[in-house]
Symmetry: C2
Subunit: 227 residues, 2 copies
Amino acid sequence: LDAQLWYACAGGMVQIPPINTKVFYFAQGHAEHAHDKVDFGNFPRIPPLLLCRVSGIKFLADSESDEVYAKIRLVPLRNDCDFDCDEDGFLGMEKTDQSQEKPASFAKTLTQSDANNGGGFSVPRYCAETIFPRLDYSAEPPVQTILAKDVHGEIWKFRHIYRGTPRRHLLTTGWSNFVNQKKLVAGDSIVFLRADNGDLCVGIRRAKRGIGGGPESPSGWNALGGN
Amino acid sequence: LDAQLWYACAGGMVQIPPINTKVFYFAQGHAEHAHDKVDFGNFPRIPPLLLCRVSGIKFLADSESDEVYAKIRLVPLRNDCDFDCDEDGFLGMEKTDQSQEKPASFAKTLTQSDANNGGGFSVPRYCAETIFPRLDYSAEPPVQTILAKDVHGEIWKFRHIYRGTPRRHLLTTGWSNFVNQKKLVAGDSIVFLRADNGDLCVGIRRAKRGIGGGPESPSGWNALGGN
DNA sequence: TTGTCGGCCGATCGCCGACAA
DNA sequence: TTGTCGGCGATCGGCCGACAA
């Protein structure tokens, strides 16, 4: 999964520590947020926090829900007594690789009208003008076909039209099918992103269904929630 | 799963040996008909047939396809040299418990018109008159609602009407939904059965898609095919 | 600028009798 | 007796501009 699309779907609040930086692992926080029981083996006592080195990161998306999540491999460090000393990036608060080049992306939370069965999608002007392919306004009406790739690489086709009084951008044909296939409801968000190679990508960010997330959470862990 | 409904779905060709009878287990035949590899462990050489005692039978139905199949537990017998001697029922060819009380059931292979999307189901007269609940012919038109339980215990509702010139029995409302949910196509069969307690049951028997069945075969074995 | 609504048109669903095999 | 067909009315999907927030 492309890291740029991953970050766009995850949202601006999400920061992933770069590889080889040091982070604290909060075992209890992890256990409390996990849906499945976390197996700490036979450790007699788990320290509240554990200094680790990030040794690997995988950007993934759930095959069912499209929700993005990350698997972060941590290697415990021995010298967790002198952790406030020196060295490089704690907690990834300094500039990380994700900030170095931010591609054009746009997220919108679906309104009732957007999610209504049989309805279309109101495209905010900013999104249509900066993310979508350039529309030929000289035609009457201005209309084009849009192709967007989701997190699995699947291509979705939409009819993009600029019409109505006052004029506005809309997705019509193809949108309803997308909503049904992805099981989107009002409150969920959709993300459009123009990749570096010019390809248009589409991702989704589902609304939080309640504290702790629902059983639909990918791989049994809350995706990047807090700790 | 009720044994009567199971036998009705399996069809008249199917005979299950009663418990505690002796049968031959054809290892090679089993292996050839299985979809998954059959693991015979480290046996250096498998005899062509193995005298066994039936120690357990489970009547089951695949949760996806509704197709019925049986799990038969076999215990190998030592004295497989003198198998043509005496004792009780070989191969269940004698009367078994399934023949002692045959409930009223009827099977019909779906025609193109039956399976057509949006169409109804032509109920053969015999089925309507002997299996279905008694219809009040004095009404105009004669119509009733039929409830039928499938192999999972789920209830399906159909509108049963007697109309047309010449008059015939039809299932209309509810039938299309049943066809779609069960993914029935022309050539598949439907089974109606009136249980001892008076309940109406419905089962399906899918058409053979080719020699050896398809990958949809339940639990990796062909259901009761030959050996 | 954009969320919601009612209008409306075409496609599909599904019930019907006619007719023939 | 029952399989197939065309008809046709009801429903639904989905595109549209009006209007107001």
